[in-house]
């Protein structure tokens, strides 16, 4: 079977197609915009810590989603230097 010449909509290559990027950014944009329309439920009303009040700030979940995942990827990448080992590691290590 011959390879398809143009990039399909769904990511099919290590570099994701332009259309997919547009769709992704649009989704993110819409998710931020809807927040203007809803009244978010208050977290930790009784707590007076700065962190507790930050959780109620606009776009908290936006920042949390992006930063937490970026941090997880970077942390995994960093730890990988020490933790990654060959696949047959257990075959000759008791």
């Amino acid at each position: 079977m011959s390879e398809t010449p143009e990039k399909p909509f769904v990511p099919d290559q290590p570099t994701v197609s332009r259309k997919f990027w547009i769709a992704l950014w649009l989704t993110c944009g819409v998710s931020v915009l809807i927040e203007f329309l809803v009244h978010r439920h208050e977290h930790f009303e009784k707590s007076d810590s700065a962190l507790a009040s930050a959780t109620n700030g606009f776009g908290f979940y936006v920042a949390l989603g992006f930063l937490a995942c970026s941090a997880a990827i970077l942390l995994a990448k960093g730890l990988g230097v020490f933790l990654k080992t060959r696949e047959n590691y257990y075959d000759d290590t008791p």
Binding site: C28, S47, G59, G65, Y90, T93
Partner: protein, 612 residues
């Protein structure tokens, strides 16, 4: 139906498994599905209460304790079994169905056990039966993994047994009832460790991603559901509200994410993902309010469904391609589109995407963390929710079904596999849109501690969850959309490598070696020193002394007599040498010995007289 009401459902599966061994392949496979369905029906007929109390070694067992919690776990255990046996219709090996049924039956045994002896026996039976699901792969790797797996579980079982014995011993009544454990008893802590090993809590977690990916296709699906969730069930029974479980659960959620990101094998990714999800449940048990416990049961229920679905889609890929590494897979959506869609539904459900089951169960646990002011725990659970989407929600389907087209053109998964997956995928969406049947079986009154929030505050109907609480949908949507953005922004950094990662077992493997070396140095050093100084130096000296000393002493005593008999020095020396020779060879004329005996006897008589 009184008969079903007094039979432990686990027993139906275990006895049925033995009968199935005798049947031909098709009847055996159909029988396994039928037995699981019969188990489900039997559980639905069980009336609340404690029954079946035979006496064993002077203890009254309780083989059947039925309440909302045990029934909820029973339902999902048998439901998952039905789907798994349909999925595994291709499986021809006799041993596998039997091992799976005994494993599931003993898991049900734990769930309905009302005493610690029944619990322990079923617990160990689970460990043994599950090992066969790994061995059945019949590869060198799976054999070794199974050996490591059973060793960990036997060790965990012994720790649990120690705890049970200590607890029974300390109970004034000698009661073996399996209820909440007291915090101030050492036995409770042993039991907790024994359970946490099965729950794959950090640092006892590495056995899971080591063993499950080496199991058979069916084995992976079955294993993913029972061992860890039985552990969660026993935590609910024995340790609700133990705050130590909150940090333990939080660590599990984060550890699962980081390791899943590092992994290359799709089934290893899913294994770490189990630990991440069980972390949510362990955390919920630690919070321990009745709503939190209800949330844990709901999450365990939904988790078993979507996790089995994910393992099935991975299994279908493995079945068709024979490959399980991300570096060897990719582009499969072209020829396995249905598997891709069903697997993706599982991936969305585990990520708690609105309208899937994960959204209506995980939300309860996260909400209780907030209601009970666990700020840090709440934050970690939210971060972990984003991380789940990253590793299981996107990474798994992306690297398996999309990414690079590696020219693999396998056929779509066989029909039974699609039916098994379809059933679970349907449940993922059905429960996400209409959670009432699930909420109805939750043990909301399991622990009447706090009058705080009930499920109504989160919504129990479609309109309440998705319309009245629309802001929750929005925030979840934001969290997931930006997690996805992070994934694709950092995609080049996520390039897979053909590696595995060193886990916490490193500590006990290397620790054991270190311990061995330390013991070798210290104990064998002591041995060597004892050999050198005691055996080779002291004892010969003692022997020499024992030989020479009597001769020297006798010679000294006889010297005046000899001198009187023969004043010549040379004669003296000769007599002395003769005496020493006689002592060392032990060759005395009989007269000498007789004289000595006579002297000693006389002395004894004298001493005896004096004493009188």
């Amino acid at each position: 139906m009184t008969l079903l009401n007094s039979i432990p459902p686990g027993l139906i599966l275990i006895l049925g498994a033995i009968v199935l061994l005798l049947l031909p392949a098709t009847a055996r496979k159909a029988g396994a599905i039928g037995l699981a369905a019969l188990g489900f029906f039997a559980i639905s007929q069980l009336e609340t209460g404690e029954r079946l109390s035979p006496s064993f070694l002077g203890f009254d067992l309780t083989l059947l304790r039925v309440d909302a919690t045990s029934k909820a776990f029973g339902y999902i255990f048998t439901l998952c079994a039905v789907a798994a046996f349909i999925f595994s219709w291709h499986e021809k090996r006799r041993a596998e169905n039997t091992a799976a049924l005994v494993y599931i039956g003993s898991a049900l045994g734990v769930v309905f056990a009302g005493d610690m002896i029944t619990w322990y026996v079923c617990w160990e039976l689970m460990a043994i039966a599950s090992t066969f699901l790994i061995l059945a792969r019949k590869t060198e790797k799976s054999l070794k993994a199974a050996q490591r797996y059973i060793l960990v579980h036997l060790a965990g079982g012994l720790i649990l047994l120690t705890g049970i014995l200590l607890t029974v011993h300390n109970h004034k009544t000698g009661s073996i009832a399996f209820n909440e454990f007291p915090k101030d008893e050492i036995g409770s802590w042993f039991i907790l460790i024994g359970i946490l090993i099965n729950a794959a809590a950090v640092p006892f977690s590495s056995w899971l991603p080591d063993a499950y990916p080496e199991s058979t296709i069916m084995g992976g699906v079955i294993l993913s559901a029972y061992t860890t969730k039985t552990a969660v069930y026993t935590l609910i029974r024995g340790f609700p509200g133990w705050e130590i479980l909150v940090p333990i659960g939080c660590v599990m959620t984060l550890y699962g994410i980081i390791y899943a990101l590092l992994e290359n094998d799709m089934r290893r990714i899913l294994s770490y993902s189990i630990i991440n999800q069980v972390g949510f449940m362990v955390c919920g048990v630690g919070i321990g309010t009745n709503l939190a416990i209800a949330g844990v049961v709901a999450h365990a229920f939904c988790h078993i469904i979507y996790k089995a679905l994910l393992w099935m889609s991975a299994g279908a890929v493995l079945f068709r391609t024979g490959k399980s590494k991300c570096t060897e897979l990719g582009g499969l959506y072209k020829t396995m589109p249905i598997t891709m869609i069903l697997g993706t539904i599982g991936a969305l459900a585990i990520s708690s995407v609105p309208f899937t089951s994960g959204f209506v169960s995980k939300t309860i646990i996260v909400a209780t963390a907030e209601q009970n002011n666990y700020l840090w725990a709440w934050l970690v659970l939210e971060i972990a929710s984003a991380g789940v989407f990253l590793h299981a929600g996107i990474k798994f389907p992306y690297f398996v079904f999309f990414n690079v087209d590696r020219g693999l053109r396998p056929k779509e998964a066989p029909k039974p596999m699609l039916i098994g997956m379809g059933l679970l995928a349907f449940l993922c969406i059905y429960l996400g849109c209409h959670p009432a049947p699930l909420y109805d079986i939750l043990p909301l009154l399991h622990r009447p501690l706090l009058p705080e929030a009930n499920l109504e505050s989160l919504g129990t109907t479609f309109s309440a969850i998705y319309v009245d609480h629309f802001s929750n949908v929005v925030t979840m949507f934001q969290l997931l959309a930006f997690s996805a953005l992070a994934f694709f922004v950092f995609l080049p950094w996520l390039k897979r490598t053909p590696t595995i990662s060193i886990d916490f077992d490193w500590f006990y493997r290397k620790g054991a070696k270190l311990f061995y070396a330390a013991m070798d140095r210290s104990l064998n050093g002591l041995n060597k020193a004892a050999d050198k100084y005691v055996i080779k130096t002291f004892l010969p000296a003692l022997t020499r002394f024992a030989l020479v000393a009597p001769a020297t002493l006798t010679a000294m005593a006889l010297k005046p007599v000899w001198r009187a008999m023969d004043p010549d020095e040379a004669g003296l020396a000769k007599r002395r040498d003769e005496l020493v020779a006689k002592f060392t060879t032990g060759t005395f004329p009989i007269a000498y010995s007789a004289a000595c005996v006579l002297i000693i006897l006389s002395l004894l008589v004298l001493i005896g007289r004096t004493a009188d």
